[in-house]
Symmetry: C2
Subunit: 317 residues, 2 copies
């Protein structure tokens, strides 16, 4: 988040770094200068114009309203406020208008998998009305935090050395495997799958949109990939989709013909701001439907970048 | 293939190991006894009752008919004869009756991704008529051969040591990535994707069945996983699907409620004969549709095991 503020030359007068009392006193660097971490408290937000929250749902639930009451625009990276009826859930390229109606002074940042999917699909939705999305994800370990990345790398090392993987952060081995490690939600779906359903419906403003999600973690460090099948209310050709996405905000279109390895992929997308869309194909079985391959950096557009872009867009108005 | 013959106590009088002249003279072990590899030639099949081919499409194209003419039942693991109208394409649990009509004396073994999907879906198809399949795969490197597995492991080692991946077998880095590395087919699909479409249509006997495939390679050594969305001609509940799959041939049903890591996965399925089916969920958006997670050992049921099972079934009749 802090790197994103730096990289985008966000107009910061004073950066206040707030964390638990455990981290208080540590020093971070912002624009080459040291910033001492302060313990988060009820009086932390005096004079703050923008509060970026990325410390888990419970902290956001408690301190988001406190920061908003102190006058800050709150942009919350957790899932705490996403489905709250009085909190807009915003992807700037998709529904920035919703940001105006922030009754609580809080704007929620969507789930990483949802953000990259909707940056890619919104221009198609506007043109032809999406009827049904089937999405299967190939999600990176960085989405589960730093410890998860470390575990992937350590497990990989262990397995390569002939040792057994020793899962701690993940429920089962993630090295050289493909697993669903998210908490259980209703009806045998994972919470991550429900986030993709509910957040997509809220952001697109269609509470009954048909979405069939399967979220899967793969042994990738950073950047999520998604295999997406989309049906529309009228036929859409790959050519039309490519035209719509060629200059769509936040999208980098990969429109080369398919050849082995010729498509966006996680290693290449990691460390970039764009949502990469490739492998746009006319569906073989359903006339007018499309299949796409969508890759994005879940820590950038899927998290910090989107949050900072929300702040940029709101503060500019 | 040879390990499978051993493991299943296949009634072998004499095992003839045929390979290129380069490998001739090498020794392999079958049932504890040495077998000298012979150079494949036009007269290799005299007296042979069963010829199992697994040496690439060109060898199968040339020598399959020669072996059949010499009186052998040919079971071919390559893609050479799969779509030939006079060659049955057989998964014993799914369409063993088709094996009877082998005009060329050749029976083709389907693609690994197709086999595991159809072992799982056939009982559902029989009950409710499949209308549309959307499948996204998470395929292991062993499907591309031994050199591909070695490359995954070496690349992983390199990356963990801070070196750059150096792709040779794969078109781009496979370690810590998710890629489509198959040859290009028509309409921007990969050949692997067309195999899933055409072979499924042939095996189920429905030449227009709607299938929307996306095939993806992940950094897994062995065992393919598949995220499958299925629509039927009449609604099917997860409960009915579980009843149908509980005792289905070749299927191991995982019907525990979803919890993190509680589902079949590649590491666990590798080295097993069954097709593992789990995460059977009622679709959120399309009433009566299902989502499933299907995992199978692509070298066993996806290749050698299925070929040997075809031979067992045909020779038993």
């Amino acid at each position: 988040m802090i790197a994103t503020l730096e990289r985008r030359n966000f107009p910061v007068d004073e950066l206040r770094a707030l964390a638990s009392s455990r981290s208080a006193g540590q020093t971070i660097t912002f624009r080459g200068k040291p910033v001492t971490v302060q313990a988060l408290g009820a009086d932390s937000f005096a004079g703050v114009e923008l509060a970026l929250f990325s410390a888990g749902g419970n902290i956001s639930k408690e301190y988001g309203p406190i920061a908003a009451k102190a006058g800050a625009l709150v942009v919350d990276n957790s899932s705490a406020w996403r489905m709250d009826a009085d909190t807009p859930l915003v992807i700037p390229e998709v529904n920035i208008a919703a940001a105006k109606d922030r009754k609580r002074g809080i704007i929620a940042n969507p789930n990483c998998s949802t953000i990259q999917m909707l940056v890619a699909l919104k221009p198609l939705h506007d043109a032809a009305g999406i009827k049904h999305i089937v999405v299967s994800t190939y999600q990176a370990t960085s989405g589960k935090g730093h410890a998860a990345v470390t575990e992937l790398l350590e497990q990989s090392r262990d397995v390569l050395a002939g040792k057994k993987a020793d899962p701690k952060v993940f429920p089962i081995a993630i090295a050289f495997n493909a697993v669903s490690d998210w908490k259980a939600g209703e009806q045998d779906y994972s919470e991550e799958e429900w986030k993709m359903v509910n957040e997509t419906r809220k952001i697109l403003g269609d509470p009954t949109l048909a979405i069939s999600p399967t979220t899967v973690r793969v042994p990738v460090v950073n950047a999520h990939s998604e295999s997406v099948h989309v049906q529309f209310t009228r036929p859409m050709s790959p050519e039309e989709a490519k035209r719509l996405l060629a200059h769509a905000p936040g999208v980098q279109l990969h429109d080369a013909a398919y050849a082995p390895g010729k498509h966006p992929h996680a290693l290449e997308a990691s460390g970039t701001d764009a949502v990469h869309v490739g492998r746009i194909r006319a569906d073989i079985g359903v006339p007018g439907a499309l299949n796409l391959w969508i890759v994005g950096d879940n820590l950038r557009k899927g998290a910090a970048l989107n949050a900072v872009q929300i702040a940029e867009a709101v503060l500019a108005t």
